[in-house]
Amino acid sequence: MKSVSELRKRTAFIFLIPVTIVLLSSALYPLISTLYLSLTDAELENFLDPNYVGFINYLENYEGMWYGVLADSLFWNSVRNTIVFSVFSVSLEVILGISFALIMLIENKLKWFVRAAVLIPWAIPTIVSARMFEWMLQDQFGIFNYILIGMGIIEQGKAWTTDPQTSMIVIIIIDAWKTSPFVAILVYAGLKALPNEVLEAGKVDGTNGITQFYYIILPLILPAIAVAIVFRGLDALRVFDLIYLINAGSKDIMSMTVYARREMFEYSHFGFGAAASTMLTLIIGVIAVIFIQRTRLHKLDEME
């Protein structure tokens, strides 16, 4: 029986074929072959035809010593860096994002400019924002040091991006600059979706701004914030560009992605690098599942 909805279903499946092919060939296949490569001794010379070696890229005890990704302190260091980076940058972005969103709500002549300005950091490539900040924070000629010296706070220019004490803070700030607008836009959309009465209600019963925000508005935009946190959090966990550009070799800021890529393309340890990236995928997967369960994001998917 070929009913109308059967026909529609068939058309739908045909229309989904290209997407499926692209996703299978360019996501699933490389994912699986990465998994496989992580179990091989792939190096530059035998990359196309490596030997299966089991789990030694992950962990191996050889003559009483532990080897492998899981035994590499630099790897765990990069895990720590990534988590520190993600937690702080996302927190900062959420705080800034909510503040921006509230400021975007102000109705006056500057409204258009605020909304326009907020989109600029979002549109700028990460690499460009990294370079811009690097330049502003440059030790000898950077405007930031110039201002601080002018204000008498420091005597001599400081190399903010390379100093181990400040480099993590710097990348968190650059990331926050670039992506709090994204959070702001989501929260702003959430706020706009609220009925006007909600925003007006507080004014009538005379609650002050902060109380009103905390007790009335915040609970209502919590879903939008949750979505922003999930998206930003998962994005932050795979951070690469910013850290690679600011200081690819520094172990103070090295992220998991930078670590894995370095193993592959600088040391040509493709098997080992694949193991590192598989670990990264696992860690992100676990965090993602927890996030998504917690925020009930999977429920958003239900139709109508």
């Binding site: 029986m1 070929k2 009913s3 109308v4 909805s5 059967e6 026909l7």
Partner: protein, 359 residues
Amino acid sequence: MADININTVNKYFGDVHVIKDVSLDIKSQSFTVLVGPSGCGKSTMLRMIAGLEDINSGTISIDGQVVNDLPPKQRNIAMVFQSYALYPHMTVFDNMAFGLKLEKRSKDEINERVNEAARILQIEDYLQRKPKQLSGGQRQRVAIGRAITRKPKVFLFDEPLSNLDAALRVQMRVELAKLHNELEATMIYVTHDQTEAMTLADDIVVLDTGIVSQKGSPLELYDKPNNMFVGGFIGSPKMNFISSKILSKSSDATEVDIMGMSKISIPKMSASSSEGDSVSLGIRPEHLVVNGDSDGSWESKVFVVEKLGDVTYLYLEKDGEPLVAETEGHSEIKVGDTVKVGFPAGRCQLFDSSGQAFK
């Protein structure tokens, strides 16, 4: 010729049984109105006839041909949606011509048919406008125009007038009636509006949670409802129901006892009933007699008076149950008055405890 025969049709949405063993015969060129409470499955019925929704079992035939597996375009139907569903990017002309173009009609024929439809619906001046440049009433005309250009044998209307204001609705209603006469097509029409149902329909079908409660001419349904549901659903304000008990049965009447009143004999019978059964006595507001002669009566306080000009509605009570009575437009009765309310036995309906009507 386009009879529509619906034979024991069932429809499920997931686990929800929405249409239950519905059988209906719709005569060619008749105007059938589907009514029923919200969510009872009216739109679903219409969409199944249109072919927009599959049916799980049973058959639907148009003109003797089973159309279960035919796509909408091969069923020779047209549908008019409540939300108009005009193509927003096309002009009125193109909206009406779209179906014809798909049928690969010649340019001349398309022009002729669209202009003809536009003339009938008086939208000739708007043919080059986009839908958003039209008022609600004009859009609705375009939606109807789009249906008639294709000269279908069956028209399906899903609450087409419900987005219009009252005056426009009356006007469009009259035009639809004219259109039905002119086009000689079968029309099936879903509405919530009692007046539309009563005035337009050759037959009214009352649906109750996926079951056909009754089908018949408007007056048949009004005068002889099959059950309490139809009795209560058709007519506005609603039929009043008073609980009572059967005292005795005779060959052509049933004698009932209503609290606080002398026994009364209603000329209705039901074989399955017996003495002592509880029954509901139904009487329409316009049949209640206020301060006049009747077969039984009681006294009630007046709680609310609604003066509509031609009639006045009095909100009364009977042993704590609310009740509405209709009386003449320029009634002197005021809130707080006590009136004598009575009813003529010949106008009463009786329903047994399962809601079935006595004949």
